[in-house]
């Protein structure tokens, strides 16, 4: 009975959950997030069209899941206390005393990069959209070529604790540091909030822990990690979580492929021949009757089910391909290694792990599609985020019901560990930006002693945690898609041009850095606010109107409606009435900017404003200083321990 009630409550909360959970679970490190949210624009009625999946029990085995959560938390806390003794100094706190090895840092970068988005969101996206879903991880993979070739080694050679260190090498230190800190906090806090909201929703749905309690719990844990453990603890939490994630993915993929003789081609064949998938694709394409000659199963392996048109594709491609290289918490990871060579090695290690995991994601996604059917997955959560937990239960139950429970609990625990780890990295990046750039360098003119700097660092970690909790409370019933989309717009169009041009362009000046950070950042935010990522009630109403118009025509023609159709009709009418006069947060009836991802406009704008302002307000001193910066970033002289003695 309680299960049924919970399922009912779950459905009621579906719209809310879709909006809130998607960005957090499905795309915090990713430009894909805003696009993932697109299903939220679908009229409420569409959900019930899907066939009910009998195995779609959302609730997990509580004692088992909690037990696994406790083990993971205990393990990570043990690391924190071990690390606490090693991070008393500032270099230990922020950069792990540059003592992390290439292999360790590679795992940690992979951990920072693969949020719950990749584990839950990607599998879901692929299971619902086939090939278009696969385009997301592909872009994120390629993004690492830019990280490897363009930013990793120069960052190691120039920076110490924060992105502000890199930007202020030749530009006027104070304004640039302050702006970099603001942008870092912006990016990270939006990420952070979305992760927290996601964690809260995950715990609420799977364990029945109230949202507010989960949020506070997660925030307290993360504050402990960061305040006591600093970068050393955060690094180890990332490493463990990445290892858990990869083993979880490998296990699920193995179980999926087992059914198909370990042959991915047979899995694909099965996907194309699955009648449920065929009818899913037909519905998605809006074909009422099957078009002759069209192979709907095969269509699932072809593009265009999710991203429509070439500009949407390219804009998303730009964001995913360039965004990673501007993420403060990723850039910060390069300060933890001793030299450029290790930085390079760590990116290569990370690329192997990420490539492996992303390819496994496709097995999970297609496995979920053929075993659970897209309809069944969408029934539980329209964004597909629950595909992996459901798949785990389904595959485990084939051996023994208890194993299904255990496997699902494991998958949930991995997702939870992922959120903990990613949030710790983000809190640390914020804390470094505020206490190192703003407190030490701007307010104290670089004259703060070690102890007061550490106090500031720990205090800011705590403050960032508390602020994120407050925002997460406020955001519970908000569509936080825009928060995540903001983070991406900010990183790719503000941070990236500022960092890359500082490192490689002689004429870059303070004005250019400020212009890139501020114009790039705020144009990105502005475009997101007027883009289709926001909720446009009138568009939802229009879609609802279509649904009930079609059903009413059918009714008028004398056909008796089925039960689900009657429900759909009622739902569409209610939804229509609620939405027909609404406007988005910006007071718009429909988006001003047509694309889901604004990257195609705001990234060039960020670079262009950097160019224009640098040329308008050149600085002789800064141009002269380029030689030094260029020598340092190329050779590591001045930072690397191998030099100067």
């Amino acid at each position: 009975m309680s299960t049924i009630l919970r399922l009912a409550a779950f459905r009621l909360g579906l719209l809310v959950a879709t909006m809130i959970q998607a960005p957090a679970v499905a795309g915090v490190d990713t430009a894909g997030a805003p696009a993932l949210l697109a299903p939220a624009q679908v009229p409420a009625a569409a959900a019930s069209v899907a066939a009910a999946a009998p195995y779609a029990v959302v609730k997990s085995n509580k004692p088992l899941t909690i037990g696994l959560f406790v083990i993971i938390i205990g393990l990570t806390l043990a690391i924190v206390f071990w690390a606490a003794g090693r991070s008393r100094k500032k270099s230990g706190f922020y950069a792990a005393r540059s003592s992390i090895s290439g292999l360790q840092n590679g795992w940690a970068i992979a951990g920072d990069y693969m949020s719950a988005a990749t584990f839950l969101g990607m599998a879901g996206l692929i299971s619902l959209n086939g090939f278009d879903g696969f385009l997301y991880p592909t872009g994120w993979m390629v993004a690492f070529v830019t990280v490897l070739l363009v930013v990793a080694e120069p960052c190691r050679n120039i920076g110490k604790y924060t992105v502000g260190d890199i930007l202020s090498v030749r530009a006027s230190a104070k304004p640039v540091r302050a702006a970099a800190a603001v942008v870092t906090v912006f990016v990270s806090t939006f990420y952070l909030t979305a992760q927290l909201v996601g964690a809260g929703k995950l715990m609420e749905l799977l364990l029945g822990v109230p949202y507010s309690m989960s949020i506070v719990g997660v925030a307290v844990l993360i504050s402990i990690y960061v305040v006591f453990g600093g970068m050393i603890a955060t690094t180890w939490v990332q490493i463990i979580k990445a290892a858990l994630l990869v083993s979880g993915g490998a296990l699920l993929s193995f179980l999926v492929l087992l059914k198909f003789g370990m042959n991915p081609l047979r899995l694909m064949e099965n996907v194309a021949n699955n009648t449920q998938i065929q009818s899913w694709v037909q519905t998605k394409l809006g074909h009422v009757t099957p078009q002759p000659g069209l192979d709907y199963g095969q269509r699932y392996l072809e593009p265009g089910l999710f991203l429509h048109g070439v500009w949407d594709q390219i804009s998303l491609g730009m964001a995913v391909c360039l965004g990673a290289a501007g993420m403060p918490h990723i850039l910060m990871r390069f300060f933890t290694v001793p030299d450029a060579k290790t930085a390079r090695k760590s990116v290569v290690v990370a690329m192997f792990i990420i490539a492996l995991f992303f390819l496994l994601t496709t097995f999970m996604g297609y496995g979920a599609a053929t075993r659970l059917t897209p309809q069944g997955i969408a029934e539980v959560d329209k964004t597909g985020n629950m595909a992996n937990p459901l798949l785990a239960r389904f595959l485990g139950s084939e051996f023994h019901p208890m194993l299904g429970d255990l496997l699902q609990a494991f998958v949930c625990a991995v997702a939870f560990a992922t959120i903990l780890a990613v949030v710790s990295g983000l809190v640390l990046a914020c804390s470094a930006a505020i206490s190192h750039d703003v407190y030490t360098k701007v307010i104290k003119n670089g004259r703060a002693d070690q102890a007061s700097q550490m106090r500031a660092a720990r205090l800011t970690s705590l403050v960032v945690g508390v602020v994120a909790v407050i925002i997460a409370f406020a955001a519970e019933r908000q569509n936080v898609a825009h928060l995540v989309a903001l983070a991406f717009a900010v990183s790719a169009s503000g941070m990236l041009p500022a960092v890359v041009l500082t490192l490689f362009w002689k004429k870059m000046s303070t004005a250019g850095v400020m212009a890139a950070l501020l114009i790039g950042t705020f144009s990105g935010i502005g475009l997101v606010l007027v883009s289709p990522n926001m909720q446009y009630p009138q568009l939802i109403a229009a879609a609802d109107q279509k649904v009930f118009a079609a059903l009413e025509t059918k009714q008028a023609a004398g056909t008796t409606l089925s039960d689900t159709e009657t429900t759909d009709l009622a739902n569409a009418k209610t939804s229509y009435a609620a939405n027909k006069d609404g406007t988005s947060i910006m007071g718009l009836a429909k988006p001003l900017f047509p694309l889901k991802v604004p990257a195609i406009l705001c990234i060039p704008l960020g670079f262009l404003s950097a160019f224009i302002f640098s040329l308008l307000f050149p600085s002789k001193r800064e141009q002269d200083a380029f030689e030094e910066l260029y020598v340092r970033q190329t050779t590591g002289i001045g930072v690397s321990a191998s030099v100067a003695h």
């Binding site: 830019t146 363009v150 594709q313 992303f358």
Partner: protein
């Protein structure tokens, strides 16, 4: 080396060789991988009909475009490995030689 004279290093023939080689390698491969990557969204965005070339089945049910997406993984990893090899062989060696020259400088 109490005070590093950066403009002197910048004029050092070894540094100029290092810088030239690095720029050529990094810019070249970055452009290549980026162009290769943007081929994917452009091609995918223009592939609409089941009869289009991108949707041609190549191995079992796997279409050509799908193989192109998989090739992105292969290329990224290949670039990573080649860069590691190249950097160990040229860039790191040149850097070390440069640093040695600077240290032994009278």
């Amino acid at each position: 080396m109490a005070q590093v004279d950066y403009s002197e290093i910048a004029r050092h023939p070894k540094f100029r060789e290092l810088s030239r080689k690095k720029v050529r390698f990094l810019v070249g491969w970055w452009l290549f991988s980026t162009i290769f990557y943007f081929g994917l969204p452009i091609w995918a965005g223009n592939t609409t009909l089941q009869s289009d070339v991108g949707n041609m089945k190549v191995i079992g049910n796997v279409p050509l475009l799908y193989l192109y997406a998989l090739a992105q993984y292969a290329l990224s990893i290949a670039i990573a490995l080649y860069y590691t090899y190249w950097a160990n062989k040229y860039a790191d060696r040149l850097t070390e030689e440069l640093l040695r020259d600077l240290r032994t400088k009278p």
